[in-house]
């Protein structure tokens, strides 16, 4: 009897313990999510509502015109398509170049491969503020200041280390037999790379692409430093401009923030497993 009640007591203690754990985990989830829900709500409010009512209230009028207004008159459409163009160009360039390098380092035979890999890995540690003034000068001399090309090149160079880091883990697990057979059949290195290796690596390629996409989409310093005209600015810098002009128009500011966030949230909804994989691979092996 006493043994049974002791077991029962232990079980109920355990249950209370788990209940507390779930409560804490749930509260953390609320802390992580609620600010975004709050942002979504105030992006649909007018100033009278924002300054006159409780910030926790649901929007009364659901002012979708906040979005329409900032999209055209706030230049958000230009910034948005600049972000898309720069992000996509840099992602494609980075992933292709990084695949070439990773292939050469893991698949081909040469003496300096370890050293070259080290060069790329150390690049990961360099703070961009330590290179910003010379980069500014470099692009100035090449006449690439206020030109999206400078941004695409900078993103490619600075994301290359992480991309190679993620790729190399996958390349090292690939069996060499297929390539050996291809060489026997007289296949050229280019054909092996493009027709065998690249297709096999599609899963990890999509991981590196989504990680690169997020980084490029969110980048701020390079654009803020190298781009001065509105027609080339991306969303992150565009938001800063916009907020400077519409200081007190919370609804409009909220709408611009939502516009910049939503593409990432959509990508996350469909590709969350790849993103989690990329983050884990990029740092665990590093």
């Amino acid at each position: 009897m006493t043994v049974l009640s002791a077991v029962g007591e232990k079980n109920s203690l355990k249950r209370i313990g788990y209940a507390i754990l779930y409560l804490v985990l749930g509260l953390i989830a609320v802390f992580q999510i609620y600010p975004l829900i709050w942002l979504f709500f105030f992006s649909l409010k007018g100033n009278a509502e924002i300054f006159g009512r409780s910030p926790f209230a649901l929007p009364e009028g659901w002012l979708w015109e906040n979005y329409a207004r900032v999209w055209t008159s706030g230049n958000m459409n230009t910034y948005f398509f600049n972000s898309v163009f720069i992000t996509v160009s840099a992602v494609v360039l980075t992933v292709i170049l990084a695949s070439f390098v990773t292939f050469a380092i893991t698949r081909m035979n040469w003496k300096l491969n370890k050293f070259v890999l080290l060069l790329f890995m150390v690049g990961y540690m360099i703070p961009i503020h330590s290179t910003l003034v010379p980069l500014f000068q470099f692009f100035l001399n090449l006449n690439l200041l206020d030109n999206p090309v400078s941004i695409v090149l900078a993103y490619t160079a600075y994301n290359m280390p992480l991309t190679i880091m993620i790729l190399i883990g996958f390349y090292r697990t690939l069996p060499r037999e297929i390539e050996e057979a291809a060489v026997m059949d007289g296949c050229s290195v280019h054909r092996i790379f493009f027709q065998i290796t690249l297709p096999i690596t599609t899963p990890v390629l999509s991981t590196t692409m989504i990680i690169n996409m997020i980084y490029n989409w969110n980048e701020f310093v390079f654009v803020n430093t190298f781009i001065s005209s509105d027609r080339y600015k991306t969303l992150t810098v565009g938001i800063q401009n916009f907020v400077g002009q519409y200081l007190t128009d919370w609804g409009a500011i909220g709408a611009t923030l939502m516009i910049s966030i939503v593409p990432i949230l959509i990508a996350f909804f469909f590709l969350s497993n790849r993103i989690v994989e990329g983050i884990a691979a990029g740092s665990v092996k590093g």
Partner: protein, 292 residues
């Protein structure tokens, strides 16, 4: 096989474009930063060589030391908060339903730009209409702080936003490492009567110590070069209270056009980042040796 795969021309073709890009945009600029740091230069006019004057000035510059203090405070906070993230990851690695979903929810802020996060938190911290002070007033706090415009609360306020941003990132890293622990080890310990707490601290944590070391480096070096969020949220203010090394460098170089002194600051940041990484490697290596 060997012959085809050792073709020097093809290796050069595959590696050189990336290597040249890396050299031109990362490695040469590092050296040039150190060099420009020895110049008196406004970015447009002539450079004049002034030797180590900028670096000597830097060592006596109280703004630099104050921003370095702030950078190291952030590094310290960030390292301490790793304990919290590790604890959450350990809980999630146990028998928790929906742990994958929770991890993904925690990660969401990490995917947003620091600019958007900064703008959102400026609104949250707004003294009059912000979410936080409204909440504080409803629970009866009469004079809630002004957060970002108050020298004494600004660093804490920034730091809470940083936790919000990075919690999910570190939890994902720890969880990936914890998933790599063979379940047979855990089961064996359970059969021997180990409590979940013992399993966590005596088995799981030591087994992922390599990853913990990586995250300490990421947190410290990441804090030293931290910029976007602070630049947007406070611009280093109020009155320099939240200035960090990177924001001070940016202001000197691209705000006041002191390219020479800005470069010297950038070079100091590089040295600090590399030195700190090296020191942590050393310190944590000895700990590992003792453990095994």
């Amino acid at each position: 096989m060997n012959k085809v795969m050792s073709n020097k021309w093809i290796i050069a073709l595959y590696v050189l474009p990336s290597l040249i890009l890396l050299g031109a945009l990362v490695y040469i600029p590092i050296v040039m930063t150190g060099y420009y740091g020895m110049m008196q230069w406004d970015g447009i006019g002539e450079m004049s060589f002034i030797g180590l004057d900028n670096y000597i000035h830097l060592l006596q510059d109280s703004t630099f030391w104050f921003s370095a203090r702030n950078s190291f405070l952030l590094a310290l906070f960030s390292t301490l908060s790793l304990i919290m993230y590790l604890a959450v990851s350990l809980v999630l690695s146990g028998k928790i339903k929906g742990s994958d979903l929770l991890r993904k929810i925690y990660l969401i802020p990490m995917l947003l730009s620091s600019v958007a996060i900064a703008q959102l938190w400026i609104k949250i911290y707004d003294p009059n209409n912000g979410m936080l002070n409204s909440l504080l007033r409803t629970i009866g706090v009469e004079n809630p702080p002004a957060w970002l415009s108050d020298r004494s609360t600004v660093l804490i306020a920034i730091f809470i936003a940083i936790i919000w941003q990075y919690a999910g990132f570190y939890i994902i890293i720890y969880s990936a490492a914890l998933k790599g622990i063979p379940s047979s080890l855990i089961e064996a310990a359970e059969i021997d009567g180990a409590t979940p707490l013992q399993i966590a601290w005596k088995i799981k944590v030591p087994l992922i110590s390599g990853v913990i070391k990586t995250t300490v480096i990421l947190a410290i070096v990441g804090s030293l070069k931290y910029f976007d969020l602070i630049f947007v949220m406070t611009g280093g203010g109020p009155n320099g209270a939240s200035e960090v090394i990177a924001s001070y460098m940016y202001k000197e170089a691209f705000g006041r056009y002191n390219f020479g002194y800005g470069s010297a600051l950038g070079f100091a940041l590089l040295i600090l980042a590399l030195l700190t990484t090296w020191v942590i490697q050393k310190v944590m290596a000895t700990k590992d040796d003792i453990q095994y």
